[in-house]
Structures are given as C-alpha cells and as structure tokens.
Amino acid sequence: MIENRPGLRLFCHAMLLLSVLTLAFPVWIAVVASTHTAERMLTVPIPLWPGTELLDNYRNVLLKGVAGASAAPVSRMMFNSLVMALSIAVGKIIISLLSAFAIVYFRFPLRMVFFWMIFITLMLPVEVRIFPTYKVVSDLHMINTYAGLTLPLIASATATFLFRQFFMTIPDEMMEAARMDGASALRFFWDVVLPLSRTNMAALFVILFIYGWNQYLWPLLITTDESIYTAVIGIKRMIPGGDASVDWNLVMAAAVLAMLPPALVVIVMQKWFVKGLIEQEK
C-alpha cells in the first residue's frame, strides 16, 4: 500500500494478529491439552496453560496407544503414515516424470490421445472412483497392505501435466545436442532432464507428502487392522462414539504428533519448494 497512515497500519496489524490468533488457538489448545491429565480436561473451564503431564502422556501414546479405543501405539501409526506418504510422493514423482518424458520427447501413435486420457482423469478425484477402486483392491487381496494403501493413489495427472509443461520449456536444442553427443533417450533423461527438474521435484514432493499424509477416506476404507492404521485414521478411532469417556489429553497428544512430520517437511524443504514454484533453473 502506498499510504502511510499510522491508523491504517494499526488496523492492518490488528487484523493480522486477530487472524493469526484465530488460526493458532486450536493448535494451542491441542498442545495444552496434551500436557494435562484426562480428568483435568473434563473440568470446566478447560485449561489454557500447559500442565505437568507432558512426558507421561506422550510416552503413553507413543508406546502403548490409547486404552479401549485402539490398542496400536501411535508410533506404529506414524510409521504407517510415513510409509504411505513417502510411497505416494516418490511413486507419483517417478511415474509422472516418466510419462511426461514419453509424451514430450517421443512421437508415437495416439500420443495426444494418451495425453488427454491422463489429463481427463484430473476431473476424477479419488472420491468419485472409490467404489470400483475398492473392488479392484479387494479382489487383489490388498486390503490391509501397504500396497493397497498406496498404489491406487500413485497415478497422478496433475504431476504429469506439471512435468510436461516444464519439459516443454527445455529448448529442443538441448535434446539435439545430447543426440549429437551420442546420448540415448534414457541417458538424456538421466543426465539432463532429471537434474534440471530437481527444484520441480522438490516442490512436488512437499505437496504430495502432505497430500499422502493427510489421506483420510481411502485409508478409512482399506484398513481394518490396527497394525496398519495411519495416524489420521488412528486418531479418528481413538474417539469412541456414544457416552464413553474420551481421553482427550491422549488424543490431543496423538494429534500433535501427527502434525509434526508435514510441518517438518515444509520447514526443511521450504527453500527448494519456493524455488521450484517461482523460478526455473536454466
């Protein structure tokens, strides 16, 4: 803004602070709740400042799980989530890199038909095709397996499209120079295209890791065994319905733990992420 009036600045900052508080408050409550006993959490008003049970709560959740609801420890669930998020992110990147490379650099019959087939699946989110997908996965006996959890989510039109657009900005002469140098198609892919796509891959990895970590509907359908619950599903199962009492302190501890890996990925890869979204290395 061009004006420089103190009143306006005060107002802007007040609005910003208010928004930050609104967004941060639930997170704060979750953190606070995870440091109290279950009884303290049922009293009114609920505490707003941290208590003393932090270590006990987290130790319980990580190693023993929440009694009654689901017996699996959260460490196990987090491992499952990690496997799922990593497989989806890495799998999607590999598959879309290769398919985009094929579409951009090879002239084969029905090339555009294939491209459009991939592109059209953009309009079909997981939720739309969930029943046929479930049927296929269950017929293949992949219920309660990591394969069943990740494979149906790996095919990605978005990532393919993104890489296609990026590859099209690489000058044709680069490919011709590589041909002159005697590089085969895959050699060119490995030696030139892949290194040039690094920042794009990093940005996609961040987005896809979070996408995989936060999957809810699909793991809810495909997992019936506690040992393969993901963190998101585990938390949901910790909250029994009806009048049964909920150990909110433990549930919140699990929730806080589940928040950490995506946050960590974003913080660690932030530099690459921004680079990949705004600039192309050329």
Partner: protein, 361 residues
C-alpha cells in the same frame, strides 16, 4: 576429415516443400557457408546433414558413405547451435567432456582431450565454471569446445553468432577463421548475415525458397551474381536494379517512365529486349553532365563518415526507379536535385526479368 556430398536432396513437411532439389559437393577441408533469407531452408538442410531431420528424397554422403539412415552420433560430425544449448547444470569441463564420456573413453584420456580443446579455445581458466557464469562469447566458445573435442570429420554451425552483439560477432568471426585454418576440418556454416558469409566462406551456397540460387566463391558471387535474387541479397545497400528496354542500337536503356540510361558499352546482342540493369551503389561515381550515364534526382543523403549513401530516383517524379549510390563524403555533400553519375562497363549486370537469370557473361 571428409568430403560432403549433397545429391538432389528434397525435404517436405507434409505438403510444405522446404528443400527442392539441392546438390553440392563440399571438398575435404573446405569452409562452405549456406546463406539466404530466413525460411529459405538453409537450417533444415544443415539439420538433414546432421541427421536431426530425415531426408525426403535424394542422398547425403559424408566421407563417401551415404548417411541417410545413419544416426547423428554415428555420422562423425559435431554441431554448434544458435542458442548454444549448453547443459546448464554441468560445469564447462563436463559440458565439453560429456560426448567423450558417453563413448566410454577412459577418464585420463578425456582429461587430456578436454584440456587440449580448452587450450585451443582459451577456456582453460574457465573449466570449473558453470555456463551461467560465462559471457555470451565464452558460452559460444564452450559450445565450439564441445564440438572440436571429439575431432569430428565435419563441423556444422547453425547461425552460431546471431545471438551475440555486433562487436563480439566480429571477434568470434576471426576466431572461427583461425580455428578452421588450424584444424582444417570440413565446415558447413549456416547464416542469414551476408557479411559473415562473405568473410568466412571459401565457397558459399546462396539459397532462396528451398532452391540453389548460386554456388561460388564469395568474390565471384559478388562480381557475377547469377540471379536477380543474389544480386539483391549480397551487398549492402543492395544492387540497384533498373527495369527497362534496350534501344535498337544497344547504346541505352529506356525505363517505363521514359528515362534514358546510357550504357557504358553498347549491348547490340540484347537490342530491343526487356532487361533489368544492375549496378551496385558503390560502383556509381559522380561526373560532369556531358559524360553522365544517368542523372537521378537526389532526395536523401546519409552521411556515414568514411563515405555517404545518396538516395534518389530516376525520372521526373517519385514514381521513377529508386536508386542508391555510395559516394565519397565530399562529393555527396553539395548535391540536392539532379546528380550526374556514371559507372564502368565491367560493373554492369544484365538480368532477364522473366527468368531472373543473368543474361550477360
């Protein structure tokens, strides 16, 4: 080291005919420049020799071996591209070494070859840099390094200097010539810049709309252009072309608007014929009115310092033929209005307006 033969080569992209029957023999060690306006097919022809484009019909042979169906890497050639196309993520050393690495040469040997190429091109100090940290001229030198390190039989250059600024272009032109003298490798060079073509070529191939207009040494192309197109394309400002009919006694040419241009030498053989009379601006000289061959009306003078460009038209009004003359700075200044000019017989060119061909020996 190899000769290159282009034998009746055609190329079409779908219905579009880009190259329409070009033949040329390039001798071993020769520096040949292909020149023409953009879209004339010169780059396509080069890319066909490189193997980046297929050949619709005809034959291309390198070193006596027909290469129509041979992969680029097996043709024993190297190419330098207009936009350089260095691998941006590799160092200068790795850029130059990449082709050797793919061929599986031992590391020590690659090291020796790259160092030698780098010395030739004065790149030794830059080997560890990334292409991003180089100036335009240095990048172009790295691209050349990538080509010479493999010691190919033929170099192909696709407008390598057109992305450089004017001063650098002159410098790189000299370096290219020196490089060719030293290595003696057969070189095919594509450009749309006639100065580059004139200065670099031992022989040049002038192309227009996918056809050969003329093949010859630069000076020959300049002094005896084979067609109207070549006459207009080579030389700056282009040759003056005056359409008209030669009088019965062959002594003069009469233009459409009735203006008379006397010829320095009677052309009895072409008496009564419609022709295009060509005279280069630099061959027109001022003279007194009695010995004038033509007297254009001058309406515009450009002072270039060393000489001046004088523009005018033949005839009473501006519908007449436009003319340009390159005159000494001193002789141009005084003139506005009628300027008597003459030229020597050996600087006169006659073309057939219908076929576009040169008609006088």
């Amino acid at each position: 080291m190899a000769a290159v033969s282009i034998r009746d080569v055609y190329k079409s992209f779908g219905p579009v005919k880009v190259i329409q029957g070009i033949s040329m023999e390039v001798a071993d060690g020769e520096f040949v420049v292909m020149v023409g306006p953009s879209g004339c097919g010169k780059s396509t022809l080069l890319r066909m020799i490189a193997g980046l484009e297929s050949i619709s019909s005809g034959e291309i042979a390198i070193g006596g071996r027909v290469v129509n169906k041979v992969e680029p890497k097996d043709r024993d050639i190297a190419m330098v591209f207009q936009n350089v196309a260095l691998y941006p993520h590799k160092s200068v050393y790795d850029n130059i070494a990449y082709g050797l690495k793919i061929r599986g040469l031992p590391k020590a040997e690659i090291e020796v070859l790259v160092q030698r190429a780098a010395e030739t091109l004065e790149l030794s100090a830059l080997l560890k840099r990334s292409p991003r940290e180089l100036s335009g001229g240095q990048r172009q030198r790295v691209a050349m390094g990538r080509a010479i390190v493999r010691q190919p039989a033929v170099f192909l250059f696709d407008e390598p200097l057109s992305n450089l600024d004017a001063k650098l272009r002159v410098q790189m032109r000299a370096e290219l010539q020196a490089l060719h003298r030293r290595l003696g490798t057969t070189t095919l060079y594509v450009t749309h810049d006639q100065v580059e073509a004139m200065t670099l070529a031992q022989r040049m191939l002038v192309m227009n709309q996918g056809r050969t207009e003329q093949i010859g040494a630069p000076l020959e192309v300049y002094t005896k252009p084979a067609t109207i197109f070549v006459a207009g394309f080579i030389g700056s400002p282009p040759m003056n072309l005056i359409p008209g009919r030669i009088e019965a006694d062959g002594a003069a040419l009469v233009t459409e608007v009735g203006e008379r241009v006397r010829l320095p030498q009677a052309m009895v053989a072409f008496a009564g014929r419609d022709v295009l009379l060509g005279v280069r601006p630099e061959h027109l000289e001022t003279c007194d009115e009695a010995s004038a061959l033509l007297t254009p009306q001058i309406n515009f003078v450009e002072l270039l310092g060393s000489d001046s460009l004088v523009y005018g038209y033949l005839g009473a009004d501006k519908r007449g033929v436009r003319l340009a003359a390159r005159l000494h700075a001193a002789s141009a200044q005084a003139h506005d209005g009628a300027l008597p000019l003459h030229f020597q017989a050996q600087h006169m060119h006659l073309f057939d307006p219908a076929s576009g061909q040169r008609i006088q020996a």
